[in-house]
């Protein structure tokens, strides 16, 4: 009884997951649809947010803090990524004077 009552106090895991999913999807949509390199990176950060939400949500479900610990790692990686990626963006921008992702198509066969 006690456990059941306790569980009533928790925010819905389904809702947490849905929030994560929606954010992630919006991030993907933005990443794919926007052509500005910086906004694309912003969108990846948005996807990080989605992942963070999901991790925290599950961590709370199990009352396991490794979820939150990993959020810290994600933060680290995000920071590192932001540093490097933005350096690269600056670099690319210097070469072409544009932030348009489509101006870089050297990956084509």
């Amino acid at each position: 009884m006690l456990l059941a009552a306790e569980s009533m106090t928790q925010a819905s895991l389904a809702h947490v997951l849905l929030l994560a999913g929606v954010l992630f999807a919006i991030g993907i949509a933005g990443f794919l649809a926007r052509r500005n390199l910086i906004v694309m990176f912003l969108c990846t950060e948005l996807m990080f947010q989605a992942v963070i939400v999901a991790m925290v949500g599950f961590g709370r479900w199990y009352w396991d803090f490794s979820g939150q610990v990993f959020v810290i790692f994600i933060l680290t990686v995000a920071a590192a990524e932001a540093a490097l990626a933005l350096a690269l963006v600056v670099l690319l921008h210097r070469r072409r004077s544009t932030l348009d992702a489509e101006s870089w198509t050297e990956l084509r066969e």
Binding site: L3, S7, T9, Q10, A14, I28, Y62, A83, L84
Partner: protein, 313 residues
Amino acid sequence: MDPILPYIATAGAALGLLLVLTGRTMAARSSGGVVGLASLAWLFGMAGGLPGAAGDVAEHVFFLIFALTAVASAVQMIRQKRPVYSALFFVLVIMSVCGALVMLEAFFIAFALVIVYAGAILITYMFVLMLAQQASDSAHAGETPEYDRSPREPFAAVMVAGLVMATVVSAAFTGLGDLPPAAGAETRVQADAALLRSLPAQVQREASQAGVSLETEDIAQGVRVDGDQVLIDGVTEAGDPTTVHLTRPGNTSHVGWMLVASFPASLELAGVILLMAMFGAVVLARREIDHAERALARSAGRVAEDSESGQDA
């Protein structure tokens, strides 16, 4: 509930997103927003009937409000034509997410996010944006560049996003039933007790405040749980046996302990990564400045380049 309905709601949300992204008129965009939010609301409503989908009403309502804000700002973020606005909306997303995290009792993370993301990372973005904007502004006289005004293949993008969403929806609507029940109060107390057992110094400190001195060796066995209390028996300086009610550790203690106790190597690695990222950023930026300068020099005049190459030869 027909199992197909969540997918229909997902499709509706995707449609709304598409309209928001591509709508040429205000009306189209706002109707897209309405459709999208309505679909999402329907989706969240359906999810209310799932196992573990109920909760403390106030907490839940706040969670939903934050969620709504986060989603709305995220949408705004990806549709804003000016990158600066996108970045600002992203800050709003982070704030809303932090709010949601607070509702999920992840206080440390929530504040860390605000500090690191909204504070540090986003500022870096801002700087870069300003750098880039400045360069393009010089060419295009403050006009939003074409690549910011028109999205590329929004339909495909939204479709892929919808597919991803659909997988998550599928997981949310089918997989959760198989999970073990959520951790209840008992689990939490036990977790707190376990943490306290690993932190004898803290326990000693607290016990000494209550006038009890404990041997380090006894703490591991002594800490026990009674109801939602964490207790430890001891003897006062007066020699009376007494029970000390220990303060239950908070979120930050848990996270911090887990970080250093369970993932020390990862922590070190994370530090190394950060360091390397810093080096990398510096190196990348430096080298390319040279290139850029040389390019500038080239564009300045062919004579210089020729003489340079002549010297090289």
